[in-house]
Amino acid sequence: MEPNIVEPDKPATHSGLSPSVPLSNHPLHLSPEYKSTILRSPTRPLMLVPDQMKNLRMPVFGDSCLGALDNDLTKNARKNGEPIGERIKIAGRVLDASGRPLPNVLVEIWQANAAGRYIHKAEIHDAPLDPNFLGAGRLLTDAEGRYSFYTIKPGAYPWGNHYNAWRPNHIHFSVIGPHLDQRLITQMYFPGDPLFAYDPIFQSVPKHARELLIAKFSMDWTEPEFALAYEFNIVLNGRNQTPFE
């Protein structure tokens, strides 16, 4: 039985939708168990806009804006050696909801180090920084929408949301798709994390969609003598498929 730390989905808050309309995969703006949402989420209904606005083309980025090591977090901040921790590969594709691969999409990631410490100056968790690890990377997807990062598996870290609150291991992803309604920031989690049941940010996602944020271990992509691999595919809004946002 799941610990009763976080309330399950509240069907009433999805009310107004007929049963034939699929529930959104996104969290509600207000998810009170994640306390920061209480003063920071809009209270008025969002305004519907014409497709023309959703279809606005977003900026494109060129290869020239990226450094050669931008997609290798095990190398892009070395000072005097290799970063500590478990080297892993994170790979997958960026697609739209109709299954179309999205090429040339800017994917930016950031994460804690192996000890669960972010390099951010406001971070106060008593765990060591790693002089050879920044924890940020980026790339552009290839012609088939594929991407691949090398990094260090992030550790869990404590936060102040409630007593004894810990975030599951995760990597933040920012994705700029080709259209305005394809701007997504999300978090990728690792399979089997015992903290899922206790984490209000993970739990803010409707139950049916939570597995979409959990990477799959991939033996096929694991590199012998080098790195375990995880597959994480990202699906952005499709064009003019209103029922599926």
Partner: protein
């Protein structure tokens, strides 16, 4: 037709700065985009500055929000050329990104030019995308300009907003070339956000 389930959104969290706005915050990682949407030398005669704060339900400025702006050029055309950092010499980028944590007042200030209208029924505007700790979804809004009253009157999107809420989308002019655009997450003057 294939229909894949959409990847759920999650919060940007408090620690995005060293990855997404590294240069602004002084981290040793370059930034692909910053607060200048144009080359300020090329456009020195027509520069405008768009400043503001993100205010929470208590009216307190948010210190860990990230804002992106995407706008057309002076002729109403969006930039279709690839953005090429770090030495982008193109005179018009049109895309900018800033965090709110590097000034004492948690203010952002973008340097840009006033966009041209992109359609006959559209007033000059900037598309604004907002992320912050405590927000689990991408927040979209638009910035219009207070000194374009006739154009604003004709703007199809603005006209579809309840009249008493339209002012939340209109940046006020503080002095020549300076506009103020505060985004209020809650309250009686809560900013209008769009459902994309």
């Amino acid at each position: 037709m294939t229909t894949l389930p959409i990847t759920p959104s999650q919060t940007v969290g408090p620690f995005f700065a060293y990855g997404l706005t590294a240069h602004q915050y002084g981290y040793d990682f370059n930034s692909l985009v910053e607060g200048e949407l144009v080359n300020p030398i090329v456009h020195s005669a027509e520069l405008i500055y768009v400043s503001g704060q993100i205010l929470d339900g208590n009216g307190q400025p948010v210190s860990d929000a990230m804002i992106e702006c995407w706008q057309a050029d002076g002729q109403g055309q969006y930039n279709t050329q690839p953005i090429a950092y770090p030495t982008d010499q193109s005179s018009f980028i049109g895309f900018g990104r800033l965090g709110t944590g590097t000034t004492r007042t948690n203010q952002f200030t973008f340097t840009t030019i006033k966009p041209g209208a992109t359609a006959p029924d559209s007033a000059p505007h900037i598309n604004v995308i907002l992320f912050l700790r405590g927000s689990l979804r991408t927040l979209y809004t638009r910035l219009y300009f207070a000194d374009e009253p006739e154009a604003n009157e004709q703007d199809a999107l603005l006209r579809s907003v309840e009249p008493e809420r339209r002012t939340t989308l209109i940046a006020t002019k503080s002095k020549d070339g300076h506009y103020q655009f505060n985004i209020r997450l809650q309250g009686s003057d809560e900013t209008v956000f769009f459902d994309l």
